[in-house]
């Protein structure tokens, strides 16, 4: 088991070396904006009344603001972590 764990740790290190760390480890204003909106009821109310003002407060780029206005989840997901898009397919027939 120790050998297996050792090999797994090498595999993990190599994966990070070649593929990089997941994007979630880096700062991301759009991601923080989405998380805060999901957690903070008052912020949601504020956003409903003044979406542009809230987006400005979070420093979103014009492109990101466009995605939010249009409900473009695909672009948002790509921006906050492209490597996560494949996770929706977790089923396959055997």
């Amino acid at each position: 088991m120790r050998l297996l764990n050792f090999l797994k740790s090498i595999q993990h290190a190599l994966r990070e070396l070649f593929l990089g760390k997941p994007k979630s480890d880096t700062g991301n204003k759009l991601r923080d904006f989405l998380i805060d909106l999901s957690m903070d009821e008052k912020l949601r109310e504020k956003f409903a009344k003044d979406p542009e003002g809230v987006m400005d407060e979070y420093g979103l780029t014009d492109e990101e603001k466009g995605w939010i206005r249009e409900g473009d989840t695909e672009s948002i997901n790509k921006s906050v972590g492209d490597n996560y898009s494949s996770s929706t397919w977790v089923f396959i027939s055997k």
Binding site: M1, N28, T73, I76, V80, Y84, F91, I92, K94
Partner: protein
Amino acid sequence: MKNSPHKGSLTIVGTGIKLSDHLTKESLIAIKNADKVLAVVADSATFHWLKSLNSNVESLQAFYGKEKDRLETYQQMIDTIAESVINGYKTCAIFYGHPGIFVLPSHEVIEKLQNLGYSAKMLPGISADACLFADLGVDPARDGCQSYEATDFLLFNRALDPSVACIMWQVGVIAEFKAKSVASNDKRFGVFVDELLKYYPKDHIVTLYEAAQFGIFDSKIIEVTIEKLRETKVSTISTLYIPPANKKRINHEIAKLLEVDTARFA
């Protein structure tokens, strides 16, 4: 397995579809109390939020690969989760949506660990069809509900009853066993539409549905006739809802045996 002699254990939970909003209270407790959390979620915002609940969260996302067979990916997920439990960790594994719906590794790792004598269980989560029933205002008890994974429907001669509602899952990834999407003008999607036309009239109106992933958005609901499906954009998370095309018919012989007055259904 309530009295397992082993220290390690597994609880599998689902985040639901919508970031932070769909997590049940019992799932939240399981995440917070775990020694180790292994997550397969839909986006990095959800992953980051999970880290705020338990700092020992690791993503299993790196096991996916665009040219990699998903069965290999799932086996790696199973092995990683099982290894954590066998190494003595109180482990919580997290999947997107309901952890037991369209998630192969969750069921298999529970079976594997239970066979080895470990405590392993699953908690329910909110799935895409749960969102669909709410958003479309349909009740699966009213006319019944058939539910097929689109590729499974095509490959295994599944028959449809047009008097029963139908949910077709994963219509955007038909016959795709790696990590690519299939466009609606792809010939595989065309095969799917042709098959539907054997059961339904071409002008039957169906709904392409995507549950809202973030609270600030509405779910995507696109109504279209079956013949126009080919011209409509489908995504990797599209689900197709087909309402009944025919009225249900009473079985009068059974009704008589059950002493049911059929006039109430008139």
